[in-house]
Symmetry: C2
Subunit: 188 residues, 2 copies
């Protein structure tokens, strides 16, 4: 086995998710993940701190993406519109990752500790978005409310996308959830 392994991180993540679904997250060892991926444990630990990080390493990527896109939204955009601008490109990011996202969701749903970790990551995402909105000049509670609204829209759209038979892409579902939120908060 050569020292350099192409796509090592992706191969390990895919092997881990397969094993978590087949055997259960708790029952799966790093040794088994490495073996399934055709790599060594040492390589695993070069890419991930532990087997939980396989599931949550992407949360930081997502947060950086969203905050980055938010920063690029036109200065004149209202907070919720800046959030919409930030969410839109996620469709492209997740496009090739639906099967992976489905497996991840299955694993997390089955384990209370992982569900808690997921909630914490989403709360941290909302805090980061609120901070980015304040840096654009939004006051409080506007920034927090727009950030919470954005995360609620993302969660609802992501859930639909994972459950969808495959006709609609995530960007479209995000747009629909945002429209729905506007209708919902407008009330009767």
């Amino acid at each position: 086995m050569s020292r350099w392994e192409p796509n090592g991180r992706d191969r390990l993540a895919q092997a881990a998710l397969e094993l978590y679904v087949e055997r259960g997250y708790e029952q799966t060892t790093v040794a088994e993940i490495a073996k399934r991926a055709g790599l060594t444990e040492r390589t695993f630990f070069r890419h991930f701190a532990d087997k939980r990080e396989v599931l949550f390493g992407g949360s930081e990527v997502l947060q950086d993406l969203l905050v980055g896109h938010l920063t690029e939204a036109p200065a004149s955009a209202a907070p919720i519109d800046a959030v919409a601008v930030a969410l839109e490109p996620l469709g492209g990011y997740f496009h090739e990752r639906r099967e992976q996202a489905r497996r991840r969701q299955t694993v997390i749903a089955a384990n209370p500790e992982l569900r808690e970790r997921e909630l914490i990551k989403l709360a941290s995402l909302a805090s980061a978005l609120a901070e980015a909105l304040r840096q654009r000049g939004a006051g409080e509670p506007t920034a927090s409310l727009a950030a919470e609204a954005g995360v609620a829209v993302f969660r609802v759209a992501f859930q639909s996308w994972i459950g969808d038979s495959g006709e609609r892409d995530l960007s479209q579902l995000i747009g629909e959830a945002l429209t729905e939120l506007k209708a919902v908060t407008a009330g009767a």
Copy 2:
């Protein structure tokens, strides 16, 4: 010490919150809480499963209150208006509890494990509200979005209320946060 202690639960909760603020949550023992309240450890455990439940026992009360009020909202009310009806009476419930709520917030903010627990309780509150909305006939994603919006409004208003010098009551702040959310989601 008589077997029957008036307001035992309240006295224990107050003693616990004082000690958590003074000495830190982790450093405080149940024996110290009972002593400060002038009660026995045995009495403590008649009221609370452990020292963490002093902080989170109220979360179930809050959830039952909200779901109960939601069920009583007029059948014709739109989901977000039913949520507003459910949130409104919280002002009365928390009116005499501001100091206690402030102490609780200080303790939770200082401890990562307690912050996580708080997030989980709020997520569970959103799930319970969404379920109550579905039982009123709301579809998805309307029910989830209205429930998430309600919890975001409650969080923001509660935070303002705790930090407020005391002029505005929680119901008023909830009303203002809801109005602000409507303005925020309406966008530019």
